[in-house]
């Protein structure tokens, strides 16, 4: 009886163990694969973070210059204390970019733009950057007058900014007085805020209370208008680019950290699984040996 029970146990246990082992083996392989892929992903995000941080330092330096350039250009506008005309026609220009993986940059811009377009549905819209275009096209396709791409992978140059502004200004089909440039303001390396720069047309500035003091020739006013627009555009684009690079860096840092956490969890799971398999094998051997 004792021997029979031992025999029955011996045949029963290996069968159970075989199934248990195959189950464990399959899970072990799965976990190993996941571990491999997550490790690869973490390497990629870590290198993307490094690239983004070098781009951020460079972009920040360019932004400081472009910001001052834009502010200098707008200094006399501020001093003139110009007020927006009552029924001024507006145009909304959203400065996003083509690349993703930068956190909430593009959705924040499109949310701001959508909120404005909700209240002013007739405003023509110019979108710079494919990511922004895709989001805004879904809700306001009829407003989009122009869209630009190939912007945002490098620091925007004045060439690009003035090119964009000349295209917008020379299109007679789009009439506008004031331009609202929606961009992401660089608050810090980990924070940005979507805001706008208001660009006044020269026609309103000459009506401003303090503008009478300035001596200026008629002929240069048109050029001044274009120049002012291009300068403000340049400021918005470069600062937006800096904010995006910083956000990309943060996003990649978080991704790498999350991947690291996953790797730790998976490794623990894997080791526990491995130990379970070994323990089961040992049990099998020992019970088999003790039966003899």
């Amino acid at each position: 009886m004792f021997a029979r029970s031992a025999i029955t146990t011996r045949t029963a246990v290996p069968a159970l163990n075989a199934v248990g082992q195959t189950r464990n083996m399959a899970t072990l392989k799965e976990i190993q694969n996941r571990l491999k892929s997550v490790t690869n992903i973490s390497k990629i995000t870590a290198s993307m973070k490094m690239i983004a941080s070098t781009k951020t330092t460079r972009a920040q330096r360019a932004m400081n210059v472009a910001r001052q350039y834009g502010q200098v250009s707008n200094d006399f506008v501020k001093q003139s204390e110009v007020k927006k005309a009552e029924n001024a026609k507006e145009i909304l220009i959203t400065a996003s970019s083509d690349k993703g993986l930068c956190g909430g940059i593009h959705s924040s811009l499109s949310r701001y733009s959508r909120r404005y377009l909700n209240e002013h549905p007739d405003t023509p819209l110019v979108v710079i950057g494919d990511k922004g275009k895709v989001q805004l096209q879904r809700v306001y396709p009829q407003n989009i007058a122009y869209s630009f791409n190939q912007i945002g992978s490098t620091i925007p140059t004045f060439d690009e900014s003035s090119g964009i502004s000349s295209v917008i200004l020379s299109d007679k089909a789009i009439e506008f007085d004031n331009a609202k440039l929606v961009y992401n303001q660089f608050v810090s390396a980990i924070a940005f805020e979507t805001s706008e720069i208001e660009n006044f047309p020269i026609s309103q500035i000459v009506e401003a209370p303090n503008f009478k003091a300035y001596e200026v020739q008629e002929e240069v006013l048109e050029n001044l208008n274009e120049f002012l627009f291009a300068n403000t555009m340049h400021w918005a684009l470069v600062e937006g680019h800096a904010a995006e690079m910083a956000a990309k860096r943060t996003a990649m840092e978080n991704a790498t950290k999350n991947a690291g956490d996953m790797i730790q969890r998976l490794t623990l799971q894997y080791n526990r699984g491995r130990q379970t398999v070994i323990t089961n094998e040992l049990i099998e051997i020992i019970t088999g040996a003790s039966a003899l």
Partner: protein
């Protein structure tokens, strides 16, 4: 004086600034009447107590504000000594050729602007060496 890619001068106390404007050359002293001038390619001469500095600018705007602050937005600015006379001469020839061979208005205009720029550069450089 601000360029899109560089702030050349900031909050500098100066005595006089000579500009080359579209409306003509002018010198701006402190408390000058507020003016807005479009700059043509030429030399900006900045005279301060510390000495005089000359920059060649490609164009832009100079705005004198009521608070005696002169703001200059230019696209490119370089000290005269950093400019290569040889390159100027050869580029001038190139642009003149382009201007005469130009088929359409836009190319002609663009080349004419280049010619104006290089001629101004040459004048500036020869004036300096005088």
């Amino acid at each position: 004086m601000a360029l899109p890619h560089e702030i050349v001068l900031k909050n500098k106390e100066v005595n006089q600034v000579d500009l080359s404007a579209v409306s003509g050359d002018l010198g701006i002293l402190a408390d000058h009447v507020p003016t807005i001038e479009q700059l043509k390619p030429g030399v900006i001469d900045i005279m301060a107590d510390t000495g005089a500095e000359k920059y060649f600018v490609s164009g832009g705007f100079a705005i004198m504000n009521p608070n005696s602050v002169l703001n200059i937005n230019a696209i490119e600015a370089f000290k005269l000594e950093d400019i290569d006379a040889q390159a100027v001469a050869s580029n001038l020839e190139e642009s003149q050729r382009l201007a005469s061979n130009a088929k359409d208005e836009i190319t002609k205009e663009a080349a004419a602007i280049e010619v104006e720029l290089y001629e101004a550069l040459q004048t500036a450089l020869s004036a300096k060496s005088k």
